[in-house]
Symmetry: C2
């Protein structure tokens, strides 16, 4: 079986997307080709280039932005002494989606992972320390994954921030909203018990 060269190439690049294998890539490519006359191929290509050209990281917090300082850093209605520390720029939008947070962000751009050779030097950590002093930060919320790397990074942050005059907290662990106890794993239930709140 022989796809024309340019289709092969498109399939190769589509397969680099997360969770996209050969068959999904084929579905995407042939759907794009079938609707070629609607201009979808061109539009997607243009949208990709536009993102490439316009999006950069906010110089202050590291979130994705199309201006020098991001939407969040320039929003004067936000608390400027409260930072939410996240691993990736995507997490900023996830937290934002809750509509529960009205402070600023700091993106680490990764998590500690000694096995993969990712130590503190590659995290935007020194930048965080500099911000705490320069911007007079009072409170830091650590919003990292509940994984080995997330836990290691959270502990590292907690240690390093101990000498600073900031209040440090981490997102609560517990039962996901809407789930039933019988499907919650033991580890989560144990954390939910420890973290129980008066009711």
């Amino acid at each position: 079986m022989k796809y024309p060269h340019s289709i092969e190439k498109l399939l190769k690049h589509l397969q680099k997307l997360p969770g996209v294998g050969k068959r999904t890539a084929e579905r995407f490519a042939f759907d794009l080709l079938a609707r070629k006359d609607e201009g979808h191929l061109d539009e997607l290509a243009s949208a990709l280039r536009l993102v490439k050209e316009e999006i950069c990281e906010c110089q202050q917090c590291g979130a994705f932005t199309d201006t020098v300082n991001c939407y969040f850093c320039t929003d004067t209605t936000r608390r400027r002494d409260l930072l939410c520390v996240v691993a990736s720029p995507k997490d900023v939008f996830t937290i934002e989606g809750t509509r529960e947070y009205r402070g600023l962000y700091h993106v680490l751009h990764g998590l500690l992972s000694p096995l993969d050779g990712r130590g503190e030097e590659i995290l935007q950590f020194s930048k965080l320390l500099a911000r705490i002093q320069a911007d007079n930060i009072k409170e830091i919320i650590i919003a990292l994954d509940s994984t080995l790397e997330g836990d290691a990074t959270a502990l590292f942050l907690k240690d390093q921030l101990a000498t600073y005059d900031v209040q440090v907290s981490r997102l609560a662990f517990g039962i996901p909203v809407g789930s039933s106890l019988e499907y919650v794993d033991g580890g989560t239930l144990a954390r939910a018990l420890v973290g129980r709140a008066s009711f």
Copy 2:
């Protein structure tokens, strides 16, 4: 929550891909952005444009090709009096993947669907009749979906081809290879019984 404009645009276009909703589009977009420095965004955009520029439909059979006549039509080792009629260009590659077929193809570019206003005039049907006479076709294999539209189109083809001196067959219906009887639906089992072959 406010994504920068160009990210919003990319998300909109990614969501036009089959089976891609808001969350998958976000996963794709942020993965592309996270690996921006590896040039993946540019490569994908270029691959899309290349496909747009290079791929057209074979003038003879309607399969996707980057030359005037396609890989299949120009392959002189194939039987030139045998046509496999398929609905879409993708199906050509699917049939080809079986390595069981060594004839030529004819792509209808659609199936009859009176409800959606797709009648015989939009199918590449007159082109098929012209080919049968011009190329002296002896045998036609109808390889269409086993759906309402596929069945309707297959019946229509059978009727129309009755006056021509060609042998017409349709792909066999039966138990999918590797499946167990208990999971096969009644309709399929009935067709498998009717189509039983000596063993």
